[in-house]
Each structure stands twice: as C-alpha cells, then as structure tokens.
Assembly symmetry: D2
C-alpha cells in the first residue's frame, strides 16, 4: 500500500502491516555530504535517518509531527541506541523501517531497521522519548487520539 503522493516526496514511505511486521518504510539516498573520509556514511547520520522514519510514521498514523507541535507538545529524545552491522556508501539507497514498541501517556519508544534495496539489514536501533509541553518544557500526558494513532504501528 502506497501513501498518497504528497507523503512520498521525501522518502516514498510505504506501510507494511502483515501478521509479522508492522512498520512504515522510508527511503533516502546517502548524500555526498553524509560520507566521511572512510568512504562510508558517517555513523551520526543514522540518528538523523531514524528521525525521518519517526516523521513518516507520524504522518502515516494520521497525525503529522507538525500537528503534535501545533497542539503545544514536543516529543523529546531521552535515549538512543544504534548497532552498525554493514556500512552504507554514497548514493546507496537506505530503507528505513520504523515501528513503535511503546506508546504510553508518558513515554514513547520507536524501533528502527535500516536495510538496503535487497533487504539486507545494515543497522538496527531504537529511541525513547517523553512528552513535554512546548512552552513550559514540563512532562505532560499525551493526547489519547495521538496514542491511539500510534497504536496502529505497534510491533
């Protein structure tokens, strides 16, 4: 199933929700700027690609992250982890598979898999987040409709 054209423009996200895997798929290409002198994509970019996956998962859930901020909430990263198995090189296609593993009123957790065009896994990772009020930066309880939307992408 393809997202509508507008949602695809960055990364042609596709939604996969069979009996096993429930994730949103985003596609980017390794930018020359993202390479380093080892001739591979620098490891810090993986964290940025994870964020693209989260953005596409929010959009796919029907509540774009821009809408979350419009409501006065922000989703702040409190922990991140990444395991690097195989490198990506300039102009390689990176497929980002994003799912939610926790969608609670206080905490969110996302899981990521970065695979190549052939489906080989190059990296796995996760991120944990808390809901904060955009102005006060104090913890808040997530809106129930937002949590319900994420629930569709729970793995």
């Amino acid at each position: 199933m393809l997202l509508p054209p507008f949602a695809q423009s960055n990364s042609s996200a596709v939604l996969c929700c069979g009996s096993v895997a429930r994730f949103v798929e985003s596609r980017v290409r390794v930018r020359y700027k993202e390479t380093d002198q080892m001739g591979i994509a620098h490891h810090s970019n993986y964290v940025v690609w994870f964020e693209i996956g989260r953005t596409d998962l929010c959009r796919a859930s029907g509540i774009p992250y821009t809408e979350i901020e419009r409501r006065g909430r922000i989703l702040v990263v409190v922990e991140i982890g990444c395991r690097y198995l195989l490198p990506f090189r300039y102009d390689d296609e990176v497929v980002i598979r994003t799912s939610a593993s926790q969608a609670a009123s206080r905490l969110m957790r996302f899981e990521y898999e970065l695979v190549d065009a052939e489906g080989t896994v190059h990296a796995t990772g996760f991120s944990r987040h808390v809901w904060l009020d955009r102005e006060t930066r104090k913890p808040v309880i997530a809106d129930t409709d937002v949590l319900a939307a994420f629930a569709d992408w729970m793995r």
Copy 2:
C-alpha cells in the same frame, strides 16, 4: 518524463527540458535536524541540497557521479553562492531545479533554483567546479563523453 524508479528513490527527480527551461528536478523534505532555533531550515543546508541536485543531474545525464569517481576524477567545488528569498520550514517539500551553465574541459558551473510545491522560488544559487585527478589532486581535462552528457542539461 519520469526517471526510472531506482533514480527516484531519494528525490523523485524529473527532467524538464522544454524550449525555455532545461533542468533536473529533485525533491526533498526539510528534516527536523535541518531546522534551527529560528524555526526555519538552516541556510547551510541549501548548499547540501544543491549537491543533491548535482547528483541527480549527473544520474540523469547517464553518467552517475559514482562513475566519474570510478574513472579517477573528482569534481571539486571552487566557488559557491546562494541568495535566500523565502524560508523553508520543517517537513516542507523542497524542489531543487538544477541545470548546467558551463561544461568545459577544465570548469563546470551549475545553477540552482529552490522552489516550493506551488512553484514559488525560495532561493537561487550556483556552484563552480574544477576537474581533478582523484589520486594526484592535479587539474585534468574532463572526458569528452562526460561533457557531452552534461551538454544536454545546459541552460
């Protein structure tokens, strides 16, 4: 005219070559990482988006930049310029229109226009490059087939 699927994965490049404009069109979305505390895309990202445009123009010309480096040449930036007219915001679609304005044996020059989904111009820019040998880093004469390929995208 659409590029084959593989070429689209990053940016769904389209080729526009009417009687007036001859350019390659790439599409990216502003990443959260690319915003700054003004709430807009940081101006240094425009230079990176230009590079995505060059990559897609090379691919569209039939000689991907990876092929240029495989032949032992690199295309090194010697000058860059950008005028900023309107900001881009998080998750905005950025359409990069890239054309070549000089394709000579010693020097290349590319022109860029960044427009939004409605076609409004947000920024214009250019870059100038020299051909260097990848090993010696000395100036070299560009391959004639490469120059011929670029010639199709001259404006």
Copy 3:
C-alpha cells in the same frame, strides 16, 4: 589581545585591530564528521564556520548574539558566497577571521577569511543579513547600540 577565558572555550577568539586588519579570530579543528569521501572537509562546513566567526564577533563587540535574540531581533541570512582555494583535512586547525563590512540599520555584511595555522588563506567569503523582528518576521531597524558595537569591527 586575548578574550576572557569564557569567550575562548569554543575557539579561542582573538581580536586583531591594527591599522590594516580589524577582525576577530576564531579557531576550530576539522571534525571527522566534517570530512567527506574526497578526504577533505566538505564545502558546506565553511558556511557553518563563518557562523562561528559571526558569533565570536558579536561576543567580542560586547553584544552576544543571544542578547540580540533576547531583545526580539534575529539576523537572517539573505546571501552567502564562498571561494575555495585550498582544502582543509581532518584535524587541521582552521583559523576564521571575521570582520564587518557593512553595519546599517537594515543590512549587515560580514567578510570571512579561513587561514591555516601558518596563515595561508584557504578560503574567503561573505554573508549579507537583514534585521527581522523575531515574532513577526518583518524587517526592523537595528538598535543603535548594537550597530555602534559592530562599528568597531568594520574593515
């Protein structure tokens, strides 16, 4: 003349204001992340280094950029240009020399020179900016004390 210790922590800025040159000097080292697969610092980083120079020039003028934003103004980039003469490599020291060439109520212009530890020029550049109100994003007239502060660093 050295800046007080706090001001040096990022880049050990020094102020040079002889009869010929009036500039603020900042020092950074090329980060591994800033290299690309050509084995040199990617050209987009120069634009970021220019910004470090502006930050240090503001601080040296007695009005840190944080103070400018606290007053409800932002200094938005409207044009940038850079000429690349010699590359920088990983772990190289980059000396950023920043001066103001225009400090007007509507427009600011800064000039940059990137030199190595021996004083050889690797790149030159400029940036032009307008003063905007932080909330409305409409053009505003710069505060006279801010302009007066910059005047000390006019070249």
Copy 4:
C-alpha cells in the same frame, strides 16, 4: 594539567587522572547550526561531540587518530548509545569527558559524559569499535603500542 597549545586549539582538552576519574576533557560551544526548532542542540550532535572526545583522547595518548589511519588501520563504530538528561542551548559550553573502558586487540569501548561549565551532567554515552584494515576493511589486531597508549585512559 593542560595539553600543549597545539592540542588545545579545538577544544582546550585537559587531562584528568586522579584516583577515581581518568578522562580527557574537551570543550566546544553549541553552534547555531546545531540547534533545532525546539531551541536546543539536536540530539544527533552528541554523537559528533563524542567523536571529538575520542579524537582528543587519541591525541592525549600520544597517538593521534591521523597516525592510526596513516598506519593503515581504521577504528569503525559498531555500536553507540546515549542518554539525554538535560538539554544544551545555543552558545552553551559543552564539556566532553572521554575515557576508555575497553582497549583490546579486537575491540575498543569508550565512555562519555557531557557536562556544563558548572559540572552538571547533561548526557552520558558510550561507543564500541572494531579495528579494521583501511584497505581490505577486514578485522585486524591492534598495534600493541596503540593499545598500551590507550591503557593510560582506562577507567
């Protein structure tokens, strides 16, 4: 104890090796480019700051990372983790405390603490690395003098 001037230019690294803590201290300031529209330093930059810490630890050990690559080895990241406790803001000073927790012939592990000017911890993290041959990209045994040098910074 201060490092010689050359080692300080980026980050004025200091070496701390009391009975409890043995780490190298680097200092950077948050760049405007490193902020995002939440008004804080984007979480991906922490991974880049860790790398600055590693670079300074290598230099402090007497074997700069440039020397490691000159010998034909690269130190490739295989895992990274970061916990975010408090944000950093534009122009804040970030003190990076880096130590080694494993220096083996096959594997390296580094630990990081990011503190502010007052010593409050804002983030902690780690990275794991393998030694590869720069050309073949196959695992290699680390040089004994390199491992011995790191041993001084084991925690």
